[in-house]
Each structure stands twice: as C-alpha cells, then as structure tokens.
C-alpha cells in the first residue's frame, strides 16, 4: 500500500514534468502540440547517443538533451506555427493547422529516431547513471532516480508557477493567453514571447525525456504517444493553461491509474484517462481549477 503510494507519487511527478510544457503551449498560444511526445522521446534518444559510447556524465547530458528538445520545438515554432499565426486570421483555422503541423512533426521526429535506433527500444547504459534502491523498511523502498524525478518535478513546478506569477516574461505570457491583440498593442513582442514559450515547452519535454530514459529501462518512439494521451487527460482535468491545475491533476491521474493497475482490472488502465477526459469535458469543461467561467458560444 505504502509502496503503491510512492509509485503513484513518482508516476505523478513524471506526468507533471511531461504535461507542463504541453499546458503552457496550449494555454498561451493555442497550440495543441502533438509533437510533444515525439520531442520527449527525441531527448531520450539524444541522451542515449551522448552516453552510449562516451563517458559524458549525467548533468551535462541532461542539459544538452533538454536544450536539443527545446531547439526542435523552437524550430517548429519558427518554421510553421509563427507563419500560421500571422497568416491565418481565423482562430479556428489556425488551431487546426497548428494541430496538423504538430502531427506531421511528430511523424518526422519519430521516424528519424526510429531509423537511428533500428526501430528498437533504446536506453542509456547503466554507467550513465547508477541506480540504487533505498529501503524504507520491509519491502518498501525507493530508488535514487525516483527521488530525482520527484525533486525535479517539484522544482520545475514551483519555478514555472512562480515565474509566471512574478516575472516580466510571466506577465507577458499571461497577457498573451488572455488577449493576443491587446498584448501586441501594449508593446509586448509577441513573436519573441511565443518563441520563448515553445522553447521552454520543448525543453521541459526534454527534461522529462532524459529522466524517463534512465528510469524506464527502455524508450521507444511509441512511448511518447502514450504519455501524450495521458497528458491530454491532465490538461482537461486541470483546466487548460492552469499550471497549478496541471500539477494537481497529474498526481490525481497518477493515483487513479496506479489504483487501477494495483487493485483493479489493470487491462482497463488506458480507459481511466480517456474516461476522465470525456467526463470532465461533459461535467466541468473548464477543468477543476480554472477560475474564469467557461463560455459557451
């Protein structure tokens, strides 16, 4: 029971790391980035490439891989999303186009990674990060990578939450999310804020990807897609764009899925996320934590 609670907290931290970037992009820029999962796997792949033949230590690897993931997402923003935002005035058309671009990008990134890895699962060698298990009495225990994931999730969550509340960039993001036109008129460089946001979103996916590559044992291209579907549930439950909502719902969903796997019919595990998406959208479409009222047009 205690062990399963620890498992749920670790899993929730993984989901938090993964879904914060996605929430940021959707909440501020209306980009539902389906390439987020592919970028996440891409970071794991970079980690694998950096560590398989060399002795590059953990921290530099983490930084390089996260930056690479950020760069890929930034490239996507500069090549496609920016153009769409400028040229497609109708929001509905722009959203659809950006979604489709991200599907295409997910395919391209996934194909490149799977070619480089001969379509097999890959993982950094054990020498990249040696894992130890600490016993907490009885059969209950926790490994150092699990602790690292939880700590990283807390740091990232708090930093992002406070950053958006208190910094100049954070204010710009909030203004952009509320009303892009006015924000532009107020003298905010929307293009730069959008680029920074997408880079940050990608880098967060990258951070999650590196940690997961070490934690899981083996990543493959499909791994990203599976996390993506769970992350959708997190965004919907937490309220799109709400950083705190995403964090709370990440842990809630982790708890729910862990409970289903541990004590329920585990083969229905995927159903938890999908059902939550459906039920939330029907009952409380603004999410559990959004403050403003959801308007029906």
């Amino acid at each position: 029971m205690l062990q399963q609670l620890i498992n749920a907290i670790v899993f929730g931290s993984v989901l938090t790391l993964f879904s914060l970037g996605l929430s940021l992009a959707w909440g501020t820029l209306d980009v539902l980035n389906l390439a987020h999962g592919a970028v996440f796997v891409f970071a794991g792949f970079i980690t694998y490439e950096l560590t398989k033949d060399s002795t590059m230590s953990f921290v530099p690897t983490l930084i390089v891989a996260s930056l690479a993931a950020g760069a890929v997402t930034l490239a996507l923003e500069l090549v496609a999303f920016r153009r769409i935002r400028l040229h497609f005035p109708a929001r509905r058309q722009a959203e659809l186009s950006m979604l489709v671009v991200s599907v295409g990008a997910a395919t391209v990134i996934g194909e490149v990674v799977s070619h480089q890895t001969s379509e097999a699962a890959f993982s950094p060698p054990a020498s990249a990060f040696s894992i130890h298990r600490y016993s907490l009495g009885g059969s209950v225990g926790i490994t150092n990578i699990q602790i690292l994931i939880v700590v990283a999730a807390i740091i990232v969550a708090v930093a992002l939450d406070q950053g958006i509340r208190r910094t100049r960039y954070g204010r710009a993001i909030r203004a952009l999310a509320y009303d892009p036109t006015t924000t532009q008129l107020l003298g905010v460089n929307v293009g730069a804020v959008a680029a920074a946001t997408m880079f940050l979103a990608g880098a967060l996916a990258g951070l999650a990807g590196v940690m997961l590559a070490i934690y899981l044992g083996g990543e493959e291209v499909a791994t990203g897609q599976d996390y993506l579907l769970t992350a959708f549930a997190i965004l919907i439950v937490g309220g799109v764009g709400s950083i705190r909502g995403a964090i709370v719902s990440a842990y809630l969903i982790a708890l729910a899925e862990t409970a289903v796997v541990a004590y329920g019919p585990s083969q229905w595990r995927d159903g938890v996320a999908f059902l939550l998406i459906l039920v939330m959208l029907l009952v409380r479409p603004q999410g559990l934590f959004a403050r403003r009222r959801f308007q029906r047009a």
């Binding site: 993982s123 493959e220 796997v261 595990r269």
Partner: protein, 400 residues
C-alpha cells in the same frame, strides 16, 4: 444537370463500364502467368514501416540474404529469383492493396506480412488468384484454413510453450505470475489458454495473470503488484520495450526471483535493460550459436553481409521462408516456373520432409502439411547475448 454533379456521375459511368467488362475477365489468370525465361519474380508484402517495422526490416534482410545465396550458388540452375518488396505499412488496407498488386503482377509466389489482421485479410487474395502465399510470422489459427495455397513459416510461441514450461519446472520453481499484453491477440490467448494450464500441469503454481495494455510504459505499480505473494518466477508475455521496462522495474523494486519471457524479447529487445536482464530466458526459432550446419552457414553469410549486426530470429525467418520457396522450385525441375509449379513444388517439399534452413531441420506439419515448423531453441540472455539452454525438436507441439 449541374456541373458539379458530373464528377461523381462520370465516376459511376467509368466504373460501370469497367465492371461490366471485367465480370468475365476478372477470373484470375494466375496459373498461366509465367516469368520471362531465367527470372523467378516473387513479391514480399512486408511491414517495412509502421507498428512492426522492426520485424519487417529484419525479415526483409534475411530474405535478401537467401536470394543472394540462392542466385549465386546456382541452386536453381541459370534461373534467378527477383524479389520485390511491397510496403504494407503495418496496416490492413495498405497490405491488401499491395497484395492485390502483387497477385496481379507476374510474381509466381508471394510472402505475406506479419500482423495477424494483415495476414488474414491478404491471404484470400492470394488464394483466389491461385498463388502460393507463404505467411511470415502469422500466428492466427484462422490463417491456414483460408485455402490450399496458404503456407506459413512462423516462430509460434505455441510451439515453444513446452520448452519454457519444462525449463521452469526443471529449475524447481514452484510458483509463477504472468503479465501479458491484454490488447495483443496472440499473447493474451496464449497466456490464458496455453501457458497457465501447461504450467499447472507441470506442477508450477500460477499465482495469477495480469493483463496490461501494451501502451503501458511505467511499470512500478505493476511491479509492486507482481511481487506481492513472492512468486518464485515471473513470466512476461509482452511486446517491445515492455520487456526491458518490466525487467528494470521489477529489479529496481527489489525482485530477486527468476524472470522468463517469450520470443518478442529477442532481436536485442533486452539490450536497454543491461545487466538487469541477465538470466532471463525465452524460446526462439534461431539464435546465433545454433549448432546445425545450415544455421552456421546462415550465420556466416549474415556476418559477411552485416558485420556490425547480430542475426536474430526475424532474419532467420525471412531467410527460411525464401529457402522453402527455392527448394520447392528446385523440386519441380529446371523448367519454367509458374504459380502452379510452385504449389506442386511446395507439396513435394512437404512430402519429402522439408529442408535445412537457418533454424535447422525444418518440416511441414499441420492437417495439410502447410505449417512450416522449425526446431526452436530455448535461450538465456546474458551480458548482451543469447546463450543456448536447450535445443527443440520440430513439430514439438504436434507430439503433445
């Protein structure tokens, strides 16, 4: 009539003409198809991309190797096999489209894709066109009954269950738990219908089976669940990255017992788990160090061609499928190869006791002798390589 309605109506007219004209002509003229002298065209509808591309690419590699060997050795006289690859994209519709194009072409035989849905949907096309279809890796029980032109060469786990059960019992393991991919047709059926009863029969207590969707990647909670009750062994009937991920999760959560699995752990799938996967055992139809002469020859050829890679069961599967075909052709003499002669050759080959392939002595089993069976081998994974534990016998499951 408005201009816009013309397009669909023109389509109707066009297809109506075509359909009327073809009602008599569409009966496949397959039997009379004959290759230009000296070449033997065949088509492999392969999962080159998509879900099981990791399988498809290896089977293609093995098949190409066999074609090179056969063509250069003069095994078929001056005649040369010409292999075309058609990508099924791991999807039923594309597979059927490709198979239809293949049976329309002058191919004298076709090789089918790996996924059971694809295999089931494409085989009737081959059967109708009266062209031999050698399915690769298609395990579905509904596949062979589709017709007399349908053959298959597959490393069916069903065949190897006895090897695993025997080894579990031999190690003196009293209890086990099995986790299986609940959305995988083959694995879920095998676990509940075969592994559990056979293990119980061998005196191994099955403490429980747990189904998980194959989309699962984070296994810590599952590992905790599997460990409860301290089973002496845990069986993994899962695919892809779930193998190394489950092993990693189990070992990191402190499980000390034996972990065993099934053939999808082959082809380097366990590499990501590193040392943690040592001692993991499973059964496959080929491993690098098989002692048979024909296997050594394949291994050597493979190493020459791909010096940096390790040959695995999927490579051997493609190689053997092509070898089976070549033997059938050679048994029909040196005349022109037709679709009919390929079928006759296959029947002769089945009656004459099979052939020697990458996986060893291979025989034709099943009700109409269309199921090509290899001996198989139980291997243990240790330090990044498969080590032979026990050699199998072809058609083992028939004897049970």
């Amino acid at each position: 009539m408005a201009r816009w309605a013309l397009a669909p109506l023109a389509l109707i007219a066009g297809l109506a003409i075509a359909a009327c004209g073809s009602s008599s002509g569409s009966s496949e003229s397959g039997g009379s198809k004959e290759a230009s002298s000296g070449t033997i065209p065949v088509t492999f509808v392969a999962d080159q991309t998509g879900l099981v591309s990791y399988v498809g690419e290896k089977v293609i590699a093995g098949m190409k190797l066999a074609v090179e060997e056969i063509n250069s050795s003069g095994e078929l006289g001056k005649r040369k096999i010409v292999l075309s690859i058609a990508n099924s994209n791991s999807d039923t519709a594309t597979a059927t489209t490709q198979m239809a194009a293949a049976v329309k072409s002058n191919a004298v035989a076709v090789f089918g894709p790996a996924l059971s849905a694809e295999a089931l949907a494409t085989a009737p096309l081959a059967q109708r066109a009266k062209v031999v279809d050698i399915g690769t890796l298609s395990e579905d029980t509904g596949f062979l009954p589709i017709g007399n032109y349908i053959y298959r060469l597959t490393c069916s786990q069903l065949r190897y269950d006895p090897l695993i059960v025997e080894h579990v019992a031999k190690l003196g393991l009293k209890s086990t738990k099995i986790v299986y991919a609940s959305d995988n047709p083959t694995l879920s059926e095998e676990t509940t219908e075969h592994m559990v009863p056979e293990l119980e029969k061998a005196g191994v207590k099955v403490q429980g089976t747990v189904g998980v969707p194959s989309t699962t990647t984070e296994f810590s909670s599952l590992a905790t669940k599997l460990e409860s009750g301290n089973p002496e062994s845990i069986g993994l009937m899962v695919v892809g990255a779930a193998n190394p991920d489950l092993i990693t999760a189990l070992r990191h959560s402190g499980y000390k017992g034996v972990i065993w699995g099934e053939q999808s752990a082959t082809a380097g799938a366990l590499v990501p788990a590193g040392e943690l996967a040592n001692g993991f055992f499973y059964a496959v139809d080929y491993t690098e160090s098989l002692p048979y002469e024909s296997s050594k020859k394949f291994t050597e050829l493979f190493k020459q061609k791909h010096p940096k890679e390790i040959p695995y069961g999927y490579d051997a599967n493609g190689y053997d499928a092509m070898k089976a075909f070549a033997k059938a052709v050679s048994l029909e003499g040196s005349g022109p190869v037709t679709r009919e002669s390929v079928l006759k050759g296959m029947q002769k080959e089945a009656a004459s006791g099979g052939f020697e392939g990458a996986s060893g002595k291979t025989i034709f089993v099943g009700p109409e002798h269309r199921d090509i069976a290899v001996p198989g081998v139980l291997v243990e994974w240790k330090d990044g390589a498969e080590h032979i534990v026990k050699l199998g016998t072809p058609g083992l499951e028939q004897q049970q």
